[in-house]
Symmetry: C2
Amino acid sequence: MSRGLSDLHIGQRFESRTVTLDKAQALDFARQYDPQPFHLDDEAASQSLFKGLATSGWYTASMCFRLFHDSLSDLRGGIIGRQVESIQWPRPVRPGDTMRVVTTVAQLERSEKNPRFGTVVFDHEAFNQHGETVFRMRSHVLAQDPIT
Amino acid sequence: MSRGLSDLHIGQRFESRTVTLDKAQALDFARQYDPQPFHLDDEAASQSLFKGLATSGWYTASMCFRLFHDSLSDLRGGIIGRQVESIQWPRPVRPGDTMRVVTTVAQLERSEKNPRFGTVVFDHEAFNQHGETVFRMRSHVLAQDPIT
């Protein structure tokens, strides 16, 4: 069974599992996509604004997406992002931090032209092991009901 | 020499190099961060909305960031994202596509409290080898002038 547009409602929450961020994975990501010293080198990072090695914001975003995905893996047709409305990174994320993501349905819009389809607006918030918010995102995802 | 807040002006453009997206890299990314059939399996992807294997939107975003980074690698203090205002993925990106990113300075705001620092608002647009827009983003990045 998969979950469709009609199975979602405003205020509905999805709580992810936790993940402890692997330093080798975070460094590998930074080497490929965000090769800046504060994401790659402890010594350089300690002298940066981050005051210590921080993960790339794109690594954090990608891992938060993975956690969200795993908390809603039965969405009909998969999770297809139409757009992102905002991303914030209020605090640095460190390799070794343990993260989890809480996602809330903020809005639901059914297509007038094709009412089997619609857009779900999700608010995602990620917390570290101290309960501090490290990532916030509002995303617009395609949702669909089954063909009846 | 690095580039500071005073070296930037509205309308200034940064054109990236091109990159041809490696299928093994795109699949590796999807396995770790976005393990959905249309990002991993040709056969499943051909039956999805994407009508063929598509890269994860987070892979596209991360690679576009890399291209932008390399086109502005001399920003003082590095490229530190404060927030993202919007992301859109108007067309699927395919492994093997050749992408480039054009970035324009949209706004500049100097901090009133600490005028050596400010925020640069960038509009990023990524094109595939056909000149079609595949990714758009507006980002807010920290910028700083040297200590005088």
